[in-house]
């Protein structure tokens, strides 16, 4: 009691000083954000409003307020914009469907066997140690015309003789799912690892079927994990430009928003269009994510 009593006045007196220290501690972070987030972002916005130099060569633009750039890119690339979000949604749902049982098994069932748990977590993370590009290239080989996967599918008549896998939306979505599965599994695992199993026992004691225990207890409790997992997969997938590119698993038919931005920025050197698309991609993701978080009721994550 005495300690508390002596402490109280001191902290009250020290308040302004403390907040100054807090500000000082925050300063590096603020400078970092200002330099590496606000500055490039504002530069992106100004670039997206640039107008071409009259009679200028390729890649020559001047500062302007060309809001029409946004309308132009929406018209021009609607197909790829829609495709990006469709692919991202499907791949995220698939990743969730694959990851949940894995995370549940590692986090809940394997709790009594720490060695097994560690081993399985390693298996999930191990692909991280190999470059993303190399892994995608390996899949390109595996889906090739004469690969055992293609031959197996052809022999079992799932794939017609003159059909192929590479460059199709199915393979691209597969690649996206595969590349981002660890980002889904890990947050789910950290969440399910803390799941109180006595709640599950209570459920069965109250004569709930395993399925209703899952939907009424386990699932709602794991929502924060699902939310962070889906955000960590959906956002990078929507902007991914490697998997769907012509050099990897895709073809012109599977071009996503990332590929459009790359092409505009590096090939045509249409910087305003590329920037307008980037700004829109960011805005669309922010809107989608905030709606999503509101609906899943996990605002406290933010």
């Amino acid at each position: 009691m005495a300690q508390v009593a002596t402490r109280a006045p001191r902290s009250a007196a020290g308040q302004p000083k403390k907040s100054r220290i807090v500000l000082l501690l925050l300063l590096p972070g603020m400078i970092y954000l200002g330099l590496f987030f606000i500055t490039p972002f504002a530069s992106l916005i100004t670039t997206s409003l640039q107008a071409p130099v009259l009679g200028g060569g390729i890649g020559q633009y001047q500062p302007g307020l060309e809001f029409g750039n946004y309308g132009f890119v929406v018209n021009e690339y609607m197909e790829q914009i829609v495709r990006s979000f469709v692919y991202a949604t499907i791949a995220t749902l698939l990743a969730l469907a694959f990851s949940y049982p894995i995370a549940y098994f590692i986090g809940v069932r394997a709790r009594k066997h720490p060695v097994l748990q560690g081993l399985m977590l390693t298996l999930v993370i191990a692909p991280f140690f190999i470059s993303f590009l190399l892994r995608t290239f390996a899949w390109k080989e595996l889906f090739g015309q004469d690969s055992w996967i293609s031959n197996l599918l052809r022999d079992s008549a799932i794939l017609a003789q003159d059909q192929y896998l590479l460059g199709t939306p199915i393979v691209v979505i597969f690649g996206l799912t595969y590349n981002f599965i660890p980002f889904m599994t890990l947050p789910l695992y950290t969440n399910l690892e803390r799941l109180d199993t006595s709640l599950l026992e209570a459920g069965s004691d109250l004569y709930a079927k395993p399925t209703s225990t899952f939907w009424k207890v386990t699932f709602p409790l794991s929502l924060p994990g699902i939310t962070s997992g889906t955000l960590l997969t959906f956002i990078p997938i929507a902007g991914d430009y490697v998997t769907a590119s012509r050099s990897f698993l895709g073809s012109p038919n599977t071009a996503m928003l990332g590929n459009v931005i790359e092409s505009n920025y590096l090939r045509i050197q249409d910087y305003p269009s590329a920037s307008a698309l980037s700004v829109m991609l960011m805005a669309a993701i922010v809107v989608l994510v905030s709606i999503y978080i509101r609906r899943t009721g996990t605002e406290d994550l933010l």
């Binding site: 200002g34 606000i38 500055t39 504002a42 530069s43 100004t46 670039t47 640039q50 130099v53 009679g55 200028g56 060569g57 390729i58 890649g59 020559q60 633009y61 001047q62 500062p63 021009e76 690339y77 197909e79 790829q80 390109k140 080989e141 090739g144 015309q145 004469d146 690969s147 003159d162 059909q163 192929y164 590479l166 460059g167 012509r246 050099s247 073809s251 012109p252 038919n253 599977t254 071009a255 590929n259 459009v260 092409s263 505009n264 920025y265 590096l266 090939r267 045509i268 050197q269 249409d270 910087y271």
Partner: protein, 420 residues
């Protein structure tokens, strides 16, 4: 004791300081949080716009050459574009140059893509800065952009006596008719390659003969074309009787017709994919049976153990494309004279023959063929490395595009690549 009005040495900083002075920024406004950021952005936004549009007044000036005191040079080249010893640990011709000239060469292989490289260095070049590299080998159409923007240094012919060995076919490029700024390193042929065994299996014929043969129904989904617009559009346009070197025959309408044709071929599944250098992978593992590709890659695939002599290459009767990668000295490079010695060295027919023997592209050096006959007679007879005069009459160069055309042509091409 510094004059407060003097400018920093670094040109980028100098430019920023000048702009700041012009706008009479006080320290207070510069530090006023958001306002300061916006001003900085204004400066950043100005940078690309101030890029010279070929106007002489704005063009950067060449750097001071320090070759006489610094016997070094940095060369950034495409990958697999230099001869290697059998154990692949040294580069024989390059090492001999170092010994003979006393110039130490730092040889990099980070020039992977014309567009990407230009996007990385263009802002520095616009300010006349040294990009840390003394010589690069962009493809002609990109070199044209360096030259017309004033981003390339003029070469001193007096330091390159072997320039006399340049094959006459390489003179007369519209952006540099006398090769004052650039010198060809290797010539590249665009034509048709096919997998001998698979082509026979699918069509019953030994080899395709025309460009039209690529669009046969039996080959549906097994044909690839290059993402390099000038080669793919060039070969197809030639097959439709268009002269791709002539401005009147190959005008915008003709170009757009070819674009429509390629789009249709892709939509019908005749063209399976449009790829850059990675297409060799698809050829090696049997995804592609035929396609419009570069000759040098075919020679190399045929040399490698796994795919020994699996592929054929030919120039269709209607014609193939020819282009070259050219030595270019960026405007801020400080070892131009050393580079001129390097160019001179590779224009010695003996060295050119040794290089051509390894890289499998066409050497632009006259007399290299005679040297190659001495080195390896079988190789010298390879039309893809030392093309006969008859073979060369079937090659055509894609005409130069003005910047307006470059914009519209490449935008149309990129739309196909994005499936639009």
């Amino acid at each position: 004791m510094k004059d407060p009005n003097s400018l920093p040495k670094d040109p980028m900083m100098a430019e920023l300081v000048k702009m700041a002075r012009r706008q009479q920024l006080t320290r207070r406004t510069a530090l006023a949080g958001a306002a300061g950021t916006v001003t900085a952005l204004g400066l950043a936004a100005c940078a690309p716009a101030s890029e010279p549009g070929g106007t002489a007044s704005e063009a950067p000036t060449a750097a001071v050459d320090v070759s006489d005191t610094e016997k070094v040079l940095t060369w950034d080249n495409w990958t697999e574009y230099m001869d290697l010893s059998d154990d692949e640990t040294s580069r024989p011709t390059l090492e001999r140059f170092e010994v003979q000239s006393g110039i130490k060469v730092e040889y990099l292989e980070t020039y992977l893509d014309n567009d990407e490289y230009f996007a990385i260095v263009k802002d520095q070049l616009a300010l006349g800065q040294d990009i840390g590299v003394d010589v690069i080998c962009p493809t002609e159409w990109m070199a044209a952009r360096y030259v017309s923007n004033g981003y390339a240094q003029k070469l001193d012919a007096a330091n390159i006596p072997n320039k006399a060995n340049l094959a006459p076919a390489y003179l007369g490029a519209s952006y540099d008719p006398n090769r004052d700024f650039t010198m060809p390193y290797q010539g590249i042929l665009g034509g048709i390659a096919y997998n001998k065994q698979l082509y026979k299996e699918l069509t019953g014929k030994d080899s395709p003969e025309t460009v039209e043969d690529l669009w046969a129904d039996e080959l549906n989904g097994r044909v690839v074309v290059l993402s390099e617009m000038r080669d793919t559009v060039g070969v197809i346009a030639l097959s439709e009787g268009i002269d791709i070197s002539s401005e009147s025959s190959f005008n915008e309408d003709a170009y757009m017709n070819i674009i429509d044709r390629v789009e249709g071929l892709y939509a019908d599944g005749k063209i399976r994919n449009i790829e850059g250098n990675e297409y060799t992978k698809g050829f090696r593992n049997g995804d592609y049976v035929a396609g419009i590709v570069w000759s040098g890659d075919v020679v190399q695939m045929n040399f490698s153990k796994r795919t020994k002599d699996m592929f054929g290459f030919f120039l269709p009767e209607s014609g193939g494309t020819i282009s070259s990668d050219v030595f270019t000295v960026p405007i801020g490079a400080t070892h131009k004279k050393n580079v001129e010695q390097l160019i001179n060295y590779y224009y010695d027919p003996v060295n050119a023959a040794e290089l051509a023997k390894w890289v499998n592209y066409i050497t632009p050096v006259a007399g290299a063929y005679e040297e190659a006959v001495k080195l390896d007679p079988a190789l010298a007879e390879n039309n893809l490395i030392f093309p006969s005069a008859d073979f060369l009459t079937r090659t055509h160069a894609f005409r130069a595009l003005n910047s307006q055309e470059e914009q519209t042509f490449s935008t149309a091409w990129q739309r196909i690549l994005l499936g639009a």
